[in-house]
């Protein structure tokens, strides 16, 4: 048991190192020249070349990577060629917005998804079940940016109930968090229903009923707790990937988070920023997987990691 956790912790720096190399290399595989993009369409070749040498992109790949690694060890992710700010500072400025939006949407998705899933399982095969499942499939298949634009037009432009752009007040969270919660709540609802259905036909549930427990107690204490394991795994995975930035939602709502920063960085081949955000995402995925393992251990003491 202790070995398992030790191995896991020791693997983290190695994973980060490999990831840093892959990211560094992959970013440079992207077609498109950052120096040309910065100098613009109307610049001549001489200016493009001098911009390239200023950005240090004329150095051999190995040297560039060495410089990157050395700086990384000092906590320096490099400087953005767009904003001229240190990437770490840029990320620190944007990450709270993404974290807040993701947390709100996930709370929403988990609440709506599990409730809907549990009820669909209880009323399996009946109208409520079909209703929930049709809604869930629609929620998972609909293009959420399209729905977001419709909602913005109605609630922000016509009715003026909520602000249209940015993250200025709590009202700014309403539309983007619903948009972002749509897909995960549908996934959670389906997962939760399947998982619950599996469990409510088990012997121990029948036993629980037979010993006279109330329906609510049976479902919540006995069934849901056991159904949680696959749900937690799914939620964890989704949460981690969204923390890297909900790219489309942030773009549509002009949300000042990491997702939009990433889109702009890719557009301008801002290598340092792309590397920084991707590396952060890797770290988050590792951390969340870790947390999921711990949580599953707590929910189901039978699960042991050896």
């Amino acid at each position: 048991m202790r070995n398992y956790w030790l191995r896991k912790i020791l693997a983290v720096p190695l994973i980060l190192l490999v990831a840093s190399f892959l990211i560094f290399w992959a970013v440079r595989l992207l077609p498109g020249d950052p120096a040309r993009l910065m100098a613009g369409m109307q610049a001549d070749q001489k200016v493009v070349d001098s911009v390239r040498s200023r950005l240090g992109l004329d150095k051999p790949f190995a040297i560039q990577y060495e410089i990157f690694l050395r700086n990384l060890l000092h906590g320096d992710l490099g400087t953005s060629i767009r904003s001229h700010k240190p990437v770490a500072e840029e990320i620190a400025e944007r990450f709270p917005y993404t974290l807040a939006l993701t947390t709100v949407s996930f709370a929403l998705a988990v609440a709506v998804g599990t409730t809907a899933g549990v009820f669909a399982a209880i009323y399996s095969g009946r109208v409520l079940d079909h209703l929930v499942m049709v809604t869930a499939i629609s929620g998972a298949s609909i293009a959420n940016f399209w729905l977001a634009l419709l909602a913005m037009n109605l609630f922000a432009v016509r009715l003026a109930w909520v602000p249209l752009l940015g993250a200025n007040s709590w009202k700014s969270y309403i539309l983007p968090s619903i948009t972002l919660a749509l897909l995960p709540s549908a996934v959670i609802a389906r997962m939760c229903r399947a998982s619950m259905l599996d469990i409510i036909h088990q012997d121990y549930i029948r036993t629980a009923r037979a010993k006279g427990l109330s329906t609510a107690k049976v479902y919540i204490n006995h069934a849901l707790r056991n159904a949680l394991i696959p749900i937690v795994t799914i939620v964890g995975m989704n949460f981690a990937s969204l923390l890297g930035g909900a790219v489309i939602t942030e773009t549509v709502f002009n949300w000042p988070g990491l997702g939009r920063l990433m889109v702009d960085a890719v557009r301008y081949r801002d290598y340092a920023t792309i590397q920084g955000i991707t590396l952060l995402t890797v770290a988050i995925v590792i951390a969340v997987n870790f947390a999921v393992d711990v949580f599953i251990g707590l929910v189901d003491p039978r699960i042991r990691f050896d």
Partner: protein, 468 residues
């Protein structure tokens, strides 16, 4: 925030209220005084002497004087600095010297008639801020607005400069918000969250023009859209083929469908906003029979295939062209590219373009100082073949080269115009491009806001009229 270290015209929008140049454009796009009050040129056309405005102070308290101008230009001339927006100044200017506290002398590498127009788009920065390396994050000029805050990708905040030397603007604070989604801009002006949006795509302009909440601001037609034809590759090396494609293009239909009427079919390589634009230039009327005859003469009556490089958002437009050229059996294969890939591809050398099979490129060009030299030389001179310049189809005509060179140097306005008249006709006849149309610059203003005079500079930059 350093006006010499970027090239996006919409970044200049944001910087414009905070900086000033030695000259500026007036309502009629003529050059008028700004930080320089008057100027003169010697007979050789290479020595320009400017008298500077007195009593002007940069936002950081540094006095504006001849030394500040010298420093501001020297950093652009320094190749070590590698400033992204310095290429034009570096080509033209040889030396800048102070001849007293209120006088500067520019020595040019050769006579350049439109030098005052170049000065109008070259903002002067505080030498102190530049030395401290603060300009990249904090704009420091002499303009009517001062820098307050920049949150990357979110907004830039500016407030009125109460120490401004000229009349102070009515609006106290400016906030610039950036979005990559035109549909968001459209909604934000309707919701009144934005007072002004720029640029406005024609499709939204058409709808907004009927909305009482919004007033359209229409600028000049300064941007020329074209398809550059690779003159070094078969079959486009044949002038008859290039002319045939020109005849096969229904420009009126493009203006109607793609620009919703906010533009004009192109006949000259210069735009109407340009003082040397000659509307009499003979272009190519839509004439399918003529196109077919020319192709038959060239031996291509059965047609051929061409590959065109285009940015993703412009694919629709090129599809219209594809339909038109199919009428003369030209099969246009569209290679839609993401912005970064596109800019790398189109600046490929002749060899690279041959390897990638790029026959043509759809793009546009606007001369931000409405000077014909900056509209024609980079696109058509033989020393500007990509990647050195923007002659993307590797066109070469020695006679035109000489003509453009003497036109750039000619100090007599009328003689200069006559030279450009000839150049426009030569380019039209040689058909290195299929010239498509001139797009009008459009922005929109919410009618509920404080009336603030706004105008669009050629190329689509919005200028708040604050500098008198």
């Amino acid at each position: 925030m350093d006006p010499a270290d970027h090239t996006a015209s919409f970044t200049m929008d944001v910087l414009d209220p905070m900086y000033e140049s030695l000259t500026r454009f007036d309502q009629n796009l003529e050059v008028s005084p700004s930080l320089a009050t008057k100027w003169s040129v010697d007979s050789s056309g290479t020595k320009w002497t400017l008298e500077l405005r007195k009593g002007v102070v940069f936002h950081d308290g540094t006095p504006f004087d001849a030394q500040a101008v010298v420093d501001s230009f020297n950093r652009m001339l320094d190749p070590e600095r590698g400033l992204a927006g310095a290429s034009r100044v570096r080509t033209i200017v040889k030396r800048v010297t102070a001849a007293g506290p209120g006088t500067v002398v520019f020595t040019l590498s050769s006579s350049y008639a439109s030098f005052p127009r170049v000065l109008a788009v070259t903002p002067i920065v505080s030498p102190l801020a530049d030395k401290g390396g603060q300009l990249s994050r904090r704009a420091t000029g002499t303009g009517p607005y001062k820098f307050v805050e920049w949150k990357t990708g979110e907004y830039v905040l500016e407030e009125r400069n109460e120490q401004y030397w000229g009349p102070r603007p009515a609006v106290k604070q400016l906030k610039w918000i950036w979005t990559s989604e035109p549909v968001l801009m459209n909604m934000s002006v309707l919701a009144g969250e934005a007072d002004i949006i720029n640029p406005l795509p024609p499709i939204f302009a058409e709808a907004l023009s009927r909305n009482p909440k919004v007033r359209l601001i229409e600028g000049s037609e300064a941007r020329v859209f074209w398809v550059a034809l690779n003159t070094q590759r078969k079959p486009l090396d044949d002038i008859r083929v290039r002319q045939a494609l020109n005849y096969a293009t229904d420009r009126k239909a493009l203006v109607r469908t793609q620009l919703r009427g906010f533009g004009t079919p192109a006949s000259s390589p210069l735009a109407p906003a340009d003082f040397a634009y000659d509307p009499q230039t003979r272009g190519y009327p839509y004439d399918l029979a003529r196109a077919k005859t020319l192709l038959a003469e060239a031996g291509y009556s059965n047609g051929f295939a061409l590959k065109i490089a285009v940015q993703e958002p412009d694919v629709d437009l090129v599809e219209a062209l594809q339909g038109m050229w199919a009428n003369v059996r030209v099969n246009l294969q569209i290679d839609g590219m993401e912005h970064g890939v596109f800019s790398q591809t189109i600046f490929g050398s002749p060899k690279q373009k041959a390897e990638q099979g790029i026959d043509c490129v759809f793009a546009s060009w606007a001369s931000d100082n409405t000077d014909p030299d900056y509209q024609l030389a980079p696109l058509y001179r033989s020393n500007q073949w990509s990647p050195s310049g923007a002659n993307l189809g590797f066109y070469a005509n020695p006679h035109l080269d000489l003509l453009l060179e003497s036109a750039a140097a000619e100090l007599d306005g009328e003689k200069r115009k006559a030279l450009y008249r000839q150049a426009q006709q030569i380019i039209s006849d040689d058909a290195p491009h299929v010239l498509l149309y001139y797009a009008r610059d459009i922005a929109a203003q919410h009618t509920g806001t404080i009336p603030m005079p706004v105008r669009l500079l050629p190329g689509g930059r919005v200028e708040l009229e604050t500098k008198n």
